[in-house]
């Protein structure tokens, strides 16, 4: 009787342990592989930012770029869409611009592409971009 009970408990424990190991492995894969991609994207972005942009990004999670053709300033926030705001002389957000690479990329990569596009081909980037109203415009 006691041996049967022990056997049942052992089986339950074994199933519980197997489930726990599978769950831990899934969590490990999700956590490390997910963060690896994000981490690589941010590392690449940091390598390509100017010293001023890097300092700004570290302090505020955004950085400013100057459009190569108009000289206008744009603020690129951390994100993968609707994260670019044209800013005025006082740093207030004006028009929002949204353009992204047509492949699925992590945030760091998207922000780097947006920076390069505005600094090297501003008109080309804005030609495909969609405008949106920034919060300050709505107030």
């Amino acid at each position: 009787m006691f041996e049967q009970l022990l056997h049942i408990v052992e089986n339950h424990l074994r199933r519980f342990r197997t489930g726990l190991v599978r769950g831990a492995r899934a969590f490990h894969d999700w956590f490390w592989h997910g963060n690896d991609s994000e981490g690589r994207g941010l590392k690449l972005l940091r390598e390509w930012l100017s010293p001023q942009q890097l300092a700004q990004h570290d302090a505020n999670k955004y950085f400013d770029v100057t459009g190569c053709e108009s000289g206008k300033r744009y603020r690129i926030y951390h994100g993968t869409s609707m994260n670019i705001h044209e800013i005025d002389g006082a740093g207030r957000p004006r028009t929002g611009w949204c353009f992204v690479p047509n492949t699925n990329l992590v945030a760091g990569d998207v922000m780097l592409v947006q920076k390069i596009a505005l600094e090297t081909d501003e008109c080309g980037a804005l030609a495909v971009a969609k405008k949106f109203e920034s919060k300050d415009q709505l107030n």
Partner: protein, 73 residues
Amino acid sequence: MATQIVMDHNGDTRQNFDANDAKAVLKAERRFKALTGAGFTAATRTADGEPVVTRTFDPTAEETLFFSRLVGG
């Protein structure tokens, strides 16, 4: 060692090649042409760190970054 960096869903994929190895340079040039031909934009950095879009393969560029076509978000 020069590096070609292609942005992808994993962050990026890197291919290193020796700019003094003619065979490796040829392979890198083919990769450059295949990517830009497929619509990727290639960018390098000046000595000052400014990004520059390039349409011709430069084996002396330390890093060449490739990203796909832009679309409105």
